[in-house]
């Protein structure tokens, strides 16, 4: 019996992405204002946080920061890949359909009310992301649910939510100061207390998405075909959008608004491993984590000892990439 050929090359790409993620994590641990050699890194790892200065830097600063980069990168990349698949729109992403703006507003409102508890911030961020997602989806459906209307709906919802965020910051100046990190996006103020709730939500969410990768592919066959194959289309679509909002919202809760990661990473991943979610999602996890980790490293080193917020670097990279994407699509359509 002839078996269906499996593409081993794609599995190698996923492995390469995993190696890239590990390398970027090691570089992130070693490099910074105070550099660590591999030997010092090893001693700090084995000596624990109470040993040398290098040990304290590693355990209290570099570890949480690197872990945060990996978490945020993988969460935003998977969130973007899921949103693009569910909405059948390759230009959709957490930031473009208003997820980040919704989470940003929720966190600003949280700060304005004087709530700074890590779990509360994560919860508000998730709720804000989810409400924004459903506002865009409902607006898109009411107006015909074409790819363009979803994007335009996202722009409108984002503009509205951002205006509300600005209004809160004007009326409650303390909220502006407290939410500064969220607006630009970065990892300079990451701590373990903030990371813990988000990491539970992100790791859990990614595991669920991984097991439902096949269902995402079935959904891309179209609503009628997917429904006829036994998929509960509306329920599944809403569940996946909720998961995407959970991932993006959790990331925003500790890393702030990191624009374009959810757009860039799924696109690059798709061009390397294709559109099959059983390969696209794992690749996006590793590549997204490595990509954010590298961006964070560059933002820390480029003007060392000063630090550029990672979100600013992301936007510098993301803006031109988005324009290139639009131009490239136009070339293909000719």
């Amino acid at each position: 019996m002839k078996t269906i050929p499996t593409d081993k090359r794609k599995k190698l790409y996923i492995l390469a992405a995993a190696v890239f993620m590990l390398l970027s994590a090691v570089l992130n641990l070693c490099m910074g204002a105070s550099g660590l050699t591999l030997r010092e890194l090893w001693e700090a790892l084995t000596g624990g946080p109470s040993g040398t200065v290098a040990g304290r830097i590693l355990w209290y600063v570099r570890f949480p920061r690197t872990f945060a980069c990996l978490l945020a990168g993988s969460a935003l990349a998977v969130s973007g890949a899921v949103i693009q698949k569910v909405l059948a729109n390759q230009l959709a992403s957490p930031s473009i359909i208003g997820v980040n703006a919704g989470a940003g507003l929720a966190v600003t409102a949280c700060c304005a009310m004087g709530i700074y508890h890590a779990w509360a911030i994560a919860g508000f961020s998730f709720a804000g992301a989810m409400i924004a997602t459903f506002m865009v989806v409902i607006a898109g459906r009411k107006s015909g649910a074409s790819r363009t209307t979803v994007i335009l709906g996202g722009v409108a919802v984002s503009a509205c939510l951002n205006a509300m965020t600005e209004a809160i910051k004007t009326l409650v100046p303390n909220a502006a100061t407290a939410s500064q990190d969220f607006r630009v996006g970065g990892f300079s103020s990451v701590d373990q207390a903030r990371l813990l709730p988000a990491s539970v939500l992100i790791i859990g969410g990614i595991l669920v998405v991984l097991t439902l990768a096949n269902d995402l592919d079935v959904l891309s066959l179209g609503d009628d075909t997917a429904g006829a194959l036994g998929l509960k289309v509306s329920l599944f679509r809403n569940c996946m959008l909720t998961l995407a909002a959970l991932l993006a919202g959790s990331s925003v809760s500790f890393a702030g608004i990191l624009g374009f990661v959810g757009l860039i990473v799924p696109h690059i991943s798709r061009s390397i491993v294709g559109n099959d979610c059983s390969e696209l999602i794992p690749f996006s996890i590793f590549f997204g984590a490595g990509f954010v980790s590298v961006c964070d490293l560059i933002s820390r080193l480029i003007f060392s000892p000063y630090e550029l917020p990672t979100g600013i670097l992301m936007s510098f990279l993301g803006g031109p990439f988005f324009i290139w994407l639009l131009l490239n699509k136009k070339e293909h359509s000719k």
């Binding site: 002839k2 066959l221 075909t225 429904g227 294709g274």
Partner: protein, 252 residues
């Protein structure tokens, strides 16, 4: 056998199917004829529970549709809609999706699934196309890939909504011949066609619809020669005896 009893279907409160009663016999090819917009596709979608507002009863064999989950239904009936996406996936992956109704969490395919997929690809003659992207195939080959997916679904009934649309004449005949093979295998085939000659040649049972209702049903000759069909389409089919049986054509 699939039986519809007093079926009403609405979209956003607007009723488009009004009290349809009909039966699609087991192991036979049933064809639904009718003008555009008369509720043919909506009736088939109602069987697959793909329309939101359904009243009346639908029986799949002797089971009430209300008692079946969506996956139970997908294990009994395969459905190829009129318009389909061309997803960016390989042919073998598409056919593999035909096994989706049999997957349980966490979605791992078994040897049996791969066997069914390989058999289906072989049956439609696309074994060598397994690694090809669906979008790189011709319209006829894509239709075969979707047929293979329906075959891999391993159901007792296959529903096809205008399967010959956009196909050249050779591919149309090939698809209809495969429908005949499906029925010879004991499967119930239900499809929407617009060509009277093909219907006369391939259909064992015909249902004529108009304005969301069943106007007549019976053998292909009885329905195509009926006055209800003349009134519905405003044409009078002519019949003649050929070497291989009865044929018909429509005068302009």
């Amino acid at each position: 056998m699939i039986e519809l009893k007093d079926l009403y279907v609405s979209y956003d409160g607007v009723e488009t199917v009004h009290g349809v009663d009909c039966c699609f016999p087991e192991g036979k090819i049933s064809v639904i004829l009718g003008p555009n917009g008369c509720g043919k596709s909506t009736t088939l979608k109602a069987i697959m529970r793909l329309v939101p507002e359904i009243k009346g009863k639908i029986y799949i064999g002797d089971e009430d549709l209300d008692g079946l989950s969506q996956k139970d239904l997908a294990r009994r009936v395969a459905y190829l809609p009129q318009s389909r996406n061309v997803p960016d996936i390989t042919v073998s992956k598409l056919v593999m999706h035909g096994r989706f109704p049999y997957l349980s969490y966490p979605r791992r395919y078994k040897k049996e699934d791969y066997k069914k997929v390989n058999e289906a690809l072989e049956w439609v003659g696309l074994t060598d196309y397994g690694d090809r992207k669906l979008e790189s195939l011709s319209g006829g080959q894509r239709q075969k890939a979707y047929l293979a997916m329906a075959m891999a679904q391993d159901t007792a009934t296959i529903i096809m909504d205008e399967p010959t649309t956009f196909l050249d004449i050779k591919n149309q005949f090939e698809l209809l011949e495969r429908s005949r093979i499906f029925s010879d295998m004991g499967k119930t085939v239900i499809m929407i066609l617009h060509d009277f000659e093909s219907t006369l040649h391939y259909a064992d049972h015909v249902v004529l619809m108009g304005d969301g209702k069943v106007l007549s049903s019976g053998s292909a000759y009885d329905v195509i020669s009926s006055k209800e069909l003349k009134e519905t389409f405003g044409v009078a089919p002519c019949f003649y005896e050929g070497d291989d049986g009865l044929h018909c054509y429509v005068k302009a």
